[in-house]
């Protein structure tokens, strides 16, 4: 049987990406009134996701019985990104409405990733179930 677990990896990567993005957005909202603060966001998931191989840091498994782990699957960079024209006179360019949109987007990404993960597990379970 060929268990194609790539979909699980992708789902896990998207979930990790969504939570990291949510942390950045929460910082933005917390700094909504800090003078000079610049709003930040992660780069798009599709640009940063690597499906296989060339992982920079991974735990070495030199013996049988070592647990093989894989590092977080996304490598999105934090970049300054804000709504055009949202800059306040004190140099802060956080727009709460814009951040809410982004937060909802990341929440949707997260729930989609979890739904895909759960469905894939269901399929595997169905496949392995006794007749």
């Amino acid at each position: 049987m060929d268990l194609n677990l790539e979909i699980l990896r992708a789902a896990r990567g998207l979930a990790a990406y969504a939570t990291a993005r949510h942390a950045v957005i929460a910082e933005n909202v917390a700094h909504a009134d800090t003078p000079g603060y610049r709003a930040r966001d992660l780069t798009d998931f599709s640009d940063s996701f690597r499906s296989r191989g060339d992982l920079p840091f991974a735990m070495k498994a030199t013996r049988e019985g070592h647990i093989v782990t894989s590092p977080p699957r996304h490598s999105a960079d934090v970049v300054e990104r804000a709504l055009f024209g949202a800059e306040a006179p004190n140099g802060n360019n956080v727009s709460i409405e814009d951040q809410m949109m982004r937060a909802v987007e990341s929440q949707r990404q997260h729930s989609m990733a979890l739904a895909v993960y759960r469905k894939s597990l269901d399929i595997i379970r169905t496949t392995l179930a006794r007749p």
């Binding site: 979930a15 990790a16 969504a18 939570t19 990291a20 949510h22 942390a23 957005i25 929460a26 910082e27 909202v29 917390a30 700094h31 909504a32 009134d33 800090t34 003078p35 603060y37 709460i96 951040q99 809410m100 937060a103 929440q107 997260h110 729930s111 979890l114 993960y117 759960r118």
Partner: protein, 129 residues
């Protein structure tokens, strides 16, 4: 999961800072009629960017340098020869706007906290099955 905790930490620091701002604003309103009272101003700043603590915190509190309001009341014990005394420089409209803004920002932080919590719960539900 670690990122979710970070998100909740940032949101709670935001709520903390906004409630401190609301407290200062309330103190200003409470002292609006205190003679010689100067309005206090809260500043927000980054906690410690060098150590990657990007949460928000309240910095020094400043007092407003705006001119004190001169009030005419010869019966007042602090009134001078001309019957005027120095009131406070609190502008109630400004304070109310400030308090309302603090409340709105607090709510935004609360929503972010709630969202992060919901995401964590959904994650744990996956394990629970």
């Amino acid at each position: 999961m670690n990122d979710l905790l970070k998100a909740m930490g940032a949101a709670s620091s935001g709520m903390h800072a906004q409630s401190a701002r609301l407290r200062i604003s309330t103190e200003n309103i409470a002292n609006a009629d205190t003679p010689g009272f100067r309005r206090k101003i809260v500043t927000f700043e980054m906690l410690d960017p060098e150590r990657n603590a990007r949460a928000v915190t309240t910095g020094r509190t400043y007092t407003s340098e705006a001119e004190l309001q001169r009030i005419y009341d010869p019966a007042h014990p602090m009134a001078g020869e001309d019957g005027m005394y120095d009131g406070s420089n609190v502008n109630l409209v400004v304070e109310l706007a400030d308090a309302r803004e603090a409340q709105r920002s607090y709510e935004a932080n609360l929503r972010m906290f709630d969202q992060a919590r919901n995401m964590g719960t959904a994650l744990l539900d996956l394990i629970r099955r």
